[in-house]
Symmetry: D3
């Protein structure tokens, strides 16, 4: 409940990260350190709550310039991850989206819905033309999001990311505004927007059966 | 529609002010200059859209430090005013709320509802204990808000504000968290929260008759 | 003796706080921690001389913008407290004065005289119109200053300050320039200005007798 | 001649851009505005020498943080263009190179040699692992550099750049350190490093004949 | 009259420069432009009051770091010039003093007394060990101050200053703390400290006769 | 080898100091602490590599403003000292040069050649008119450089430097552009520029014999 909250279905609340969220975010990173450390660089470098505060301050500073936006995700009232655009280039009409999710909030459509909400903001409110998502070649969980949301695979950048396993190639996925405008009318996307989280589980279960 | 929007009823949308709102806000100030100039100091000093941009940058900078929050109000899809807290003191658990509204959005409960939403944020999300509203002694439209929302009159500070008519005394109204917790259960407040804007007009009309 | 010193009588010297005063101020805070901690928030948070240096740097930064002024008080050649204006609003012609004094310099008229000197600066040099002093309802020592100097009680702000005893109401006292101009001609104020500190003790003794 | 100069052959001098170069760079941009405006965004926004000064200040600020480097190219004693890395990411061991050249310095191997020198700095001095060059799909002159220097084509990002003709797709070329180490021993690269500029013309003429 | 004023005799008041002095200082520079322009570089570059404001902001910023101090001189209630230390090096115990005076305040001992007061501050309050004054070889009015105050001539730096007549050599004068401690007991210095400004004229007249 | 390297003879390479040089510089300071501590103040205050990083950041910040330049000296592939100008005043056409050298690189002409290269940059690229070198009266090794390079002794500033032995007087040496233009044509200077480092040893040996 609040002036900066965005509610999706009955269980997901998105909020612009703010300094008073630091403790909650920090605890979530600590709890998920093993889960996150392969692909999320700060999972290992976040040692104290002041590290998280410093990140939030930087995030809001960049937000105040219109260059980044970082959204916290609360699932069933607990902080569960983040989705954000860490470079918004209004001159080129371009942004790159990144995200991470706590282990126990996975498999429920939380991130797909959160990314859809962020895309609404970027295409409608910020009038962008192109959104990019980058995933390590071995990170199939991350790749599932752009695949599910109709992004096109546009390239493979060699040795472009540093994982805990060493340098790895990166897939670049892109979605243009005109593609988003078509896709968002489809039943499939409407589903993510309107249905509640419980129904998601059914869908996922069904999709695994088939 | 968007990740930073907060919708009240069918006609009011609140958004954290952002740099890409500058043109819309500036045009509203220009159109309402005569209406605003007596009590809103920047109504006369805002000469170009860059003045508004500078205000927004400052507002978000302070927001990033947790010290201020400035919310734009859209009524029937057009920008119609602002509500904000221009000093949030977490050490003392205190904030002061200010607001201004375009002339053609007045008399519809827009500001009462916007202030209620901001108070939710300040008491719940920011855990404050006391909210203050200050109004020039001659500004009865502004005083109507704290009166309607059960604030107590706590003092009269002499020659504390500069209006276009010269120095004027200021009433200080205060509301404590414990008072807000009681008030928000009342039918009267529930009304503002749940009903749509059309019903407001009926209420106002009825209240004027009685 | 010095270009930034302001001498009152034979025993009081006022100086704009500067970075090389840090050690002296810090030692005074340490020695008076118990005396100050109820009403002076930084008495408990000042743990090292670098905390005091940081305060001084901030104080001078705000002074350089014309927004604050912080004056150190030396009594009988030892640092004994501070008097300052921690918000100077030239647009509104307004400032709020605050002060604290070491225990062994109390009861000698030191603070009354220091506040008078600061008021001269604010009304004459800075051309302000209104000065405000705020005191916790239980802090009678602090209230004695505005009462003695003809301020008017203008309001009681509920739960506005955090003392070591918890939240407390605050009295707001105000003095307008026109009132100051009348008062400063009175014998009573002249006395504070011209006489030396020893005579103060006699006056206080006499005033307690009557 | 100078402590920050890097000489290639007899005719090319590279220098870290500095504030006293502003006038010379500005005049070159003005003279080449038509030549540059399709692909170089600042060719149109650089209106006064202060715009160039602002760019240089920003460039050196980023250089001081180790995040960018911008090198001016002098050909036959006149300023003729720039080569730089506008994001150096030491955590990922990655940099992206960009460049532009005045019309009358084209076709002489100036940029190929300048890029080679910058690559030496990035791979050897800064110990990077991957260098990227991005070119608009229609910009064949720009693509000639990574092709000539053995970069691999890694992707095509759709609508990723804004040219004076509108949005355009972008080719991403990448070169890894291990590839650079092999390539730099080849006769072909040695040629660029050791021979003087006149010999370049012969080589180019011969290569066009074959 | 005020908390930051330092009064010498009946006619001289010294104040730390502050932002609200800008207009007064600017008018004095304008009026004395011809008188100052040969040796005071900003006499020609100060075109608008905002130039003076910018200087004051810089001066107070450096003061807040303990690295500079700039004092305004009021003579017979009108702003008449400045005296300051524009590099205070506490590690080396060293400062350099500079000054300029309006034409109609010259020949009255105003600057000699002002410099003496600043030296008190630098040697006593700031605990420095060495003070330096530099004067263009042709500027005899400026040289009169260090000569009168027992400074030693320590060197002649060739082409070290830019006057409106071109490059000129500079005399360096130095005074050590131990020399200042002896000198300040002499009758001559006592005279500057204690007597009023009218007496100065007599002394000067007498000294010219002999 | 690199875009920011300047090579002298076969054994000396000069580079603008950059943040990735910190470790190498720090180790050299540690190793030469005893050798340096008498005259180089930071030899004792540099305790950790972060101290060196902070110096480099400051150095590059000042360089980006055109106010300082700090050059690292590599001798036989190892970092061996620094030469720099720590105040470049373009308004006056003036700079002051300072330097320090590791013990095992002394006596080989390394510093004389490095200073000559820096002077080329300052007189030619930066168009300065006067260069100054200051040396403690007891520091004959340091004085050898300006003597060898035809600087004039212009003054002796008393107690101007703090050595590990206490306060000490300082010699000021100056060289004007017109003097530099004559000197650089002489055989003696040509020698430093063109010959390799081995020849230097012969010259020095010969000069000691005579």
């Amino acid at each position: 409940m609040g002036i900066l909250d965005h509610t999706i279905g009955e269980e997901i609340v998105l909020k612009l990260v703010q300094i008073h969220h630091a403790e909650e975010i920090f605890q979530c990173v600590v709890k998920n350190r093993d889960h996150l450390k392969r692909y999320v660089p700060f999972a290992e470098t976040t040692k104290e709550v002041t590290d998280t505060e410093q990140f939030i301050r930087h995030a809001l500073e960049q937000f105040s310039l219109g260059k980044e936006i970082h959204i916290g995700i609360w699932y069933q009232l607990r902080f569960a991850g983040m989705v954000g655009a860490n470079q918004i280039n209004t001159a080129l009409g371009f942004a790159e989206i990144g995200y991470w999710l706590a282990q126990d909030a996975q498999g429920k459509g939380v991130m797909t819905r959160s990314v859809l909400s962020l895309m609404d903001y970027l295409f409608v409110e910020r009038k962008l033309n192109r959104i990019e998502i980058r995933c390590a070649v071995s990170n199939q969980a991350s790749q599932a999001i752009p695949k599910r949301l109709c992004f096109q695979l546009e390239g493979k950048l060699r040795q472009m990311t540093q994982t805990s396993q060493g340098l790895e190639d990166v897939y670049v996925y892109g979605l243009l505004k005109k593609e988003w405008e078509q896709a968002k009318e489809h039943d499939y996307w409407q589903y993510f927007r309107n249905e509640n989280a419980n129904r998601w589980k059914i869908l996922e279960r069904d999709s695994r059966r088939s």
